[in-house]
Structures are given as structure tokens and as C-alpha cells.
Amino acid sequence: MPAVSKGDGMRGLAVFISDIRNKSKEAEIKRINKELANIRSKFKGDKALDGYSKKKYVCKLLFIFLLGHDIDFGHMEAVNLLSSNKYTEKQIGYLFISVLVNSNSELIRLINNAIKNDLSSRNPTFMCLALHCIANVGSREMAEAFASEIPRILVADTMDSVKQSAALCLLRLYKTSPDLVLMGEWTSRVVHLLNDQHMFQGVVTAAISLITCLSQKNPDEFKTCVSLAVSRLSRIVSSASTDLQDYTYYFVPAPWLSCKLLRLLQCYPPPEDGAVKGRLVECLETILNKAQEPPKSKKVQHSNAKNAILFEAISLIIHYDEPNLLVRACNQLGQFLQHRETNLRYLALESMCTLASSEFSHEAVKTHIETVINALKTERDVSVRQRAADLLYAMCDRSNAKQIVAEMLSYLETADYSIREEMVLKVAILAEKYAVDYSWYVDTILNLIRIAGDYVSEEVWYRVIQIVINRDDVQGYAAKTVFEALQAPACHENMVKVGGYILGEFGNLIAGDPRSPLVQFNLLHSKFHLCSVPTRALLLSAYIKFINLFPETKVTIQEVLRCDSQIRNSDVELQQRAVEYLKLSSIASTDVLATVLEEMPPFPERESSILAKLKKKKGPGAVSVTELDDSKREGGELNGGGERAADTAAMAASNASTPSPSADLLGIRSSAPMGAAPAAAGSLLVDVFSEAGPAAPAAAVNNDGFLFVCKNNGVLFENQLLQIGIKSEYRQNLRMYLFYGNKTSVQFASFSTTVSCPGELTPQLNVQSKPVEPLVEGGAQIQQVLNIECLSDFSDAPLLNIKFYGGALQNLTLKLPVTINKFFQPTEMTSQDFFQRWKQLSLLGLGSALLDNVDPNPENYVCAGVIQTKGQQVGCLLRLEPNAQAQMYRLTLRCSKESVSKRLCELLSQQF
């Protein structure tokens, strides 16, 4: 390609650019202002500008904008260029619009008009320009204007380049406005793009990105793409490196397309069709085999392209969780762990992290522990070391916990500041999760504080105290260890906190010589003056506890409390503590003191909040759900007891929820007794996995729908990720509100719901729903309203299907509690009327009116109502005759339609 158009395209522009280059910031601004003034006057001038000048000035404006200056004019001129029939003018106009979109609605109308003209011009170059512009801007307004037009272009008989642009343009619009892009009738023709034998690789490469994105949302509609993708992949994988001509990249056939195909397959479970599955497994094996072959080129591009496919194949293998392939993948990654390419080592460490969480490959990953520890110690790049630390965390289990924790601790001493906090959390979690003896746990955490005290967050030291308080077999050891740790001349403040708390509670357990009460007290007090206010407050509480534990320290401690620096401290919290503790110790009898200052009761069992913190820090997907489940199962062991107290207010909770230092660790002054704070306090501690949250109904939900026959509100479904609440009300139609609550701290993507009326139900019910937002933020709740019209009586329930991506693709189907009685309209009637109708009909409650003074027997209940369907009204009468002595009842229903009385009877009999 000759450098034909370099520079000589627009000489004025080139001159301007070289003018600005290498100027000081000030000179640059001066020159730019001059230019802006000039352009402005040209645009405003009386002389009409020709297309070329307009193009040049618009291009200058664009350049100025890209340098980082603000541009507030020229949009109109750029829009004018769009309707030029000179290609280059049009092109510059589109480029300007793509970079500097303006929300001025008048302009948007003009832009959309120009695009519309170009799309219908049948000139492929113009069409591509217009499509590129839509894809670059991707605004909602553009989606509204073109979302229905583009699928037509995509499947029409046009040039490949137009098809390619159309596919990706549609993808961009789908990402911004999924509700506006409706594939419907086009679906099968779009999927078919994968199949077309004559179709060049280019079209497939573009179309497959669109199909992948659409499949994530509507897997069922696109599932025919699986077999097509497999056969396409198989053809590429088995082709010689020259077969695909220009789509072969450094001897690797179609690497981009291969990666995209493998990615698409990750949207689906393994193919059910044996032949397709077999062909796919063969492809995956071929890819793994090729990794062992000598390289066809020494160029890094060759190995990158080849390995890109390999890693994508491994992702698919992990997705399928297929034992043999997993182990092969693990071995391959093991080789990469020692590869000379840093990039490959990084990726191998990253990929192995996921392998470690599969039961089939966990053991295989563990065999590489020495290499990974070595990487943690010797890698020169911190991002690689970070991956190594992640992998050690992921491969940790009971068998290697001590080794891994020790290595991580020793690495912490020299670790980069950027990853220390995360490392601390990881060590704390592993130490707790895999602790067999508590002394090891206490040693580990105290080491953590010693080595990286600044990075030890509150959650970590709260947790060690919770555990020590709850385990009496470790209390003496803990007291002895903190006493020793406090001997160091320079101690981290977190150590003083833990030390103060533990000695205040359990100092008596180690109070023999040489750790006499006074020695303990003096040791703590020697740190006092170097500490911050909250720590001092904690120490004061420890002192008053000392007075109770060791009466002999009373005089010394009272003297400390009485001195001006305490009792007149300018900090109100410290002053108050000093005054109150002093008074308490002088007026209360030993009995009262012993009661008030009694040892802390065990903390209620709760989930570790450290995990939640790590998760929050690492962002979505960093801590897989399986890991969390795991800790849930094992977490209990260390905490002993296992009895889950009804009230949940751990010290950590009350402390974390109160920002002031008045959070009283010892609970002496809290308004409510420690153990009885409201459960809601627990939820303040970002601990999303705690079951102490305010709304935690029974996890097992009766999904037969019978639960909701006589109920209009409640929890329809709940698991670890999602809670679905429901509220329904009847006003001519049944209006049902569904509340989807994200229980995790991670965003749910591609959230979608569909309501279907299977089989017979289709002509009986008419369900309308508004689409929901595709993103549900962590902790957020979204609402969906269903409007349900009853066309004729029915007995089945409509199905609610929910799909979303939260760590992995989730797919749920639930029966909606829509029962015939929801369409009842209550009817008032007198006794006479009732029995008159009773005689006419052969049928309570649940929507019908409960009638008093109708039945001569006051024990009996009678109800009346009309079920409103579109086609007809079905009157229903009901009589319930309980026989308390015999513990039996008789229920009689009379309706104007037999099928209704039958269904109501079924529903009601489930209720009693």
C-alpha cells in the first residue's frame, strides 16, 4: 500500500498539527484558541463553505477535542457533511459524530435521517459507514430508530462487509437496549449464518459474537447453534494451517473464530446428542494434543494464537466439569507454570485457580504446590505473584493448610503494599477454615498482626476474639500468647487491642508468677499513651475488668483512672468511661462488680464477615460461591458449639455499626445487654452470607403453590443468591408484583424472566408482563408487575422462568401461585338468598365473602363469591361444617360450573 493519502489529504490540518506539536502547554492552548476563533468565524461567515473546507475544519475540531480540549460547536457542520455524496466528507462527518455525540434532539433527528438515507442507499460503502456510526454511538435513540431495520440487513443478500457490520452493530444496540432488539422471526436465519458453507469466515466471525450475546439471554431460542458451532469448530481444528488462507494467522487456522466458537459453547451445557458431544470432545482433545506439538513458528504471535485457543478450550472443559479432560488440562497448565513466557505463567496460574475448585481436578492442582510457592517467592512481577497467592488460596485444604498459611505469612513480610490487605484476609480465612487446633489459629492471627498489623482490618481481630471467647480450651493459651507478644517494645495497635481484650477477660488464667496481675496491668498500661482514642477506651474497659478479676490491682487502677489525663480527658468518651469506672469500682460491692463485669457470654454462631470483606474487595467472581459454601460447612467446627443462638449481635456487629469509640467492646455500657441487640445489627456488617439478615424466612419453600391459596403476600422462592417475594391483588384482573432480591454483593447480569402458560393453560389465562432490567446490583431488589386475566376457569399454574448470570448461569423455573380462587369477587347475601342459591348450586373463602348470620349453625362457615373470567362469571357458594370433637370437617361447594367446584375443592382440601 503506497502512502498515497498521507498528509496530502488535508494540508491545512497537517500544518495545524505540526504547529501544535512540541509546543508548551500554554503555547498549545494559545494556538488552539486562535484556531477555534478562526473556525468559528468561518462557520458563521457569510460565505458558504464548500464541502472540502467544512471537512477540514470539522477534522481540526475533532483533533482539538482528542487532544483533551472541550468543543462546543461544529456539530451542525458535521451533520451537514453526513449528507454529502462525497465519501471522504461523509466519512469525516461520521467520525466526528461518533466521537462527539451530542444529545441535542434536533441534531439526533438529523443524524438519524442521514443514517437512514445511507442505509437505504444500496451503496455498500455508505451502508457500512452508517452501520459503523450506529455501532460506535450505540445510543438508545439510535436503537429506537434502527433496531428493527438492522436484522433485515443482516440476513439480506448484501455484501459480506455489510453483513459483518450489521451483526456487530446489532450486538452493540442489544447491549445498550436489549428491550428494543427483538430477534423473533430472524432468530433461525441468524443462527444459520454459522452454517452457511459458502459464507466466508469473516461473516461468521462477526455474527458469532452477536449469537453468543443473544444466547446468554435466550439459550433455548438459540440452542440449535450448538451443533453448528461444533461442526464449524471441528472443521477449523482439523484443517491444515494453510486451508483457511487469509484467516490463518501465523500458521494457526482462524484463531479468533475458534475462540469465539469455544466461548459460545460455554453458554450451553454439554451437547446431549452423543455424536455432537463426541465430535466436540475430539476437538478438545485435538487442541490439547496440538499444545504438545513442536511450534510451527518461533514467533510469539504463533504461540499466542495457539494458546489463546487452548485456554478458551480449557475454559470450556472447566465449564463441562469433565474429569478426564480436566486432569489433562491441569497437566498442560502445570507445564506452563514453568514456561519462560511471563504471560503464560500468569494465565496458567489464573486458569488453575478455577480448576482447583472442581472436585475432579483439585487433587491434580495440588501436586503443583511447590512450583506455585516458588512463583510466589521468585516472580518479579507483582501481578504474577498475586495470581500465585490466589492459586495457593484456591488449592488450600486441610491437608496443606499449615504449609500454605506459613508460606503466605512469610511472603507477607516482603509483599507489595498493594496486595497486603488482601493477603491478610486470605490468611485469616484459611487459618480459621482449616484450623485443627486453636492454638495454631491464635498463633497465626497474632503473627498476622505482628507482620502486617496495618493491614489487619477490624473484621480480622474481631473474629479472633469471637473465637477465643467461644472456645474455653484456647483461652489460657491465647492469654499467654498475647502476653508474650506484648513484651515486644514496639507493638502494633491491633495487638494492643487484642491483648487488652483477652487479658481483660482471661488474664486470671495465666496470673501466676511471672505474669502477676500487676505485671499484666503495667504491661498494658505501658502501651496506653501511644494508642488512639478507641484503643484507649478499650483498655479502660479492660482495666475495670482487672479490678474484678484481681482485687489487688484496684488501688493502682483507681489511681490511673483518677488522674487528670483520664478523668478530665478532653475526649468525652474517655472521660465518661474513666468517671463511670472509677465510681463503679468505689461504690459497688464485690458481688455487684462480679455480676456487672462477668466474663463475656459466648458469641452467637455467625458466618465469618472476613469472607464478605474479601469478596467485596476482590469484586465479582473472585471468591466463588463454592468456596463460600465450603466455609459455611466447615466454619462451624472451629466455632465449636454449633448451637445457633436466637439473637445475633456479635461484638463485631455492634462495634462496626457504631462509628464512635463508644462501641463498648465489653458491653458494660451498651443500652441493651450484649446478647439481645436486634438482629438487624448483624446486617450492618457487610456480611451478606449471614443468615441473620432481617428477612430470612424458611428456606424450603413450598412450590406447589398451595401455600399461597389463601395468602396474597409472601416469599415464593429463596436460595443463597436470590429471593423472590410476591404480592398479589385482585382488581378486575389479577395483579401480581414479583420482587427479585439479589442476596449477594455481586451484580447479576443478563437477568431475565419469562412467564409461560403451558398446555391447556394457554387459552385459559392471559399473562402480561413488563421486561425486567437486565442488571441487578448486589443487595438490590427489582420489581416486576404481572397482569393476569382469567379467560376461562383453569387448574394448572403458569410457569415463571428466571435466568441470570451470577457467578454461573442460573436457570430456575417456578410455578406461579395463580389459582382460580384469586379471581373471586366477594358477594354479600342474606341467609334466605344463600340457601335459595345453595339449593340451586351445588359450594368458601379465599376471595369469597365470609358471611355471618347466614347459617343457622354458628359453628359453620359460609362464603359466597363470583369468579370473574373473561368468558363467564361463575358463582360459588361454600359451606364448611367443622366437627371439633371428631376432628373432622365437611366442606361443600356449589358452583355454576362443575370444573370450578372440582378445582376449588382440590385447592381447599390442601389447606386443611
Binding site: L66, T125, T205, N343, L347, D381
Partner: protein
């Protein structure tokens, strides 16, 4: 892919392409932060890094850094080769491309990128096809420019 940035060793931004809607302020902040992070890295370090909840893939060619932000599930190595293919395209078009070519012909750099990547996805991976499209456009330009060259002014 969420965005692609080209910047010089001195930290000057030479090309920016955003595939997600962001405000100008956010774009400037992201650019500043990333340029700083990437420039601070030593030559032999790995080409990938975690940044916010994205993965950054970057590579240096002479005085220019090419830097892409991809999402969690995206493939790092194939992104590295996307960068390389783009460099090849620029090189083939300009004939041993250098930073100056990208500065003086920034609009061309954008046009080539649009033919290759669209909406953050590879559109056409064949070098021949991409260059054919750009070549055609240039032919159009040449015939159009004939008349207007004379009237070009410095300002």
C-alpha cells in the same frame, strides 16, 4: 472489549476508542489512571493486569503503548493478538508505521480500527479484506480531492 487506548511513552494519548458509554470526565479519569499504571510497569513484566473489575491487556510497539480493557471472561492472549493485528494493519497501510503517522493521520487510524473491530468485537480478521476496504476509500478520496487541493489554505 470495553475500550482501546494508544498512548506514547510520554503519556500522550494518541487514539481512544470507547465501546461502552462513559462520560467525558470518566474517560479522562480512566485514561489518566491507566496511562500512569502501564507506564510504571517494567519492560519484562507480563502484559496483563487486573484493574478495577476489568482485565487490562497492553503491549508496547516502539514508542507507542497499545492498551485494551476486556471483561472477566474475555481471552487475554487473543486480545494481545488483536493489538498485533491492528499494528500490522497500520504498518501495512502507512508502510513501517511510526507514532507520527498516527498523529498526522489520526482519522485514518480510526477508520482502519473501525474496519477491524466494531462494537469491541473482531469484525474482520483478514488483513487483506480490511486493507481492501480502506484502499477503496482512498481511491474515492483521491478522485474527490483533485479539485479541492488548490483551494487549501494554511488556516
Amino acid at each position: 472489549m470495553q475500550f482501546m487506548l494508544l498512548f506514547s511513552r510520554q503519556g500522550k494519548l494518541r487514539l481512544q476508542k470507547w465501546y461502552v458509554p462513559l462520560s467525558d470526565k470518566e474517560k479522562k479519569k480512566i485514561t489518566r489512571e491507566l496511562v500512569q499504571t502501564v507506564l510504571a510497569r517494567k519492560p519484562k513484566m507480563c502484559s496483563f493486569l487486573e484493574w478495577r473489575d476489568l482485565k487490562i491487556v497492553y503491549k508496547r510497539y516502539a514508542s507507542l503503548y497499545f492498551c485494551c480493557a476486556i471483561e472477566g471472561q474475555d481471552n487475554e492472549l487473543i486480545t494481545l493478538e488483536i493489538i498485533h493485528r491492528y499494528v500490522e494493519l497500520l504498518d501495512k497501510y502507512f508502510g513501517s508505521v511510526c507514532e507520527l503517522d498516527v498523529i498526522f493521520n489520526f482519522e485514518k487510524a480510526y477508520f482502519i480500527l473501525d474496519e477491524f473491530l466494531l462494537g469491541g468485537e473482531a469484525q474482520e480478521t483478514s488483513k487483506k479484506n480490511v486493507l481492501k476496504a480502506i484502499e477503496q476509500a482512498d481511491l474515492l478520496q483521491e478522485s474527490e480531492d483533485w479539485g479541492s487541493l488548490q483551494s487549501d489554505e494554511i488556516l
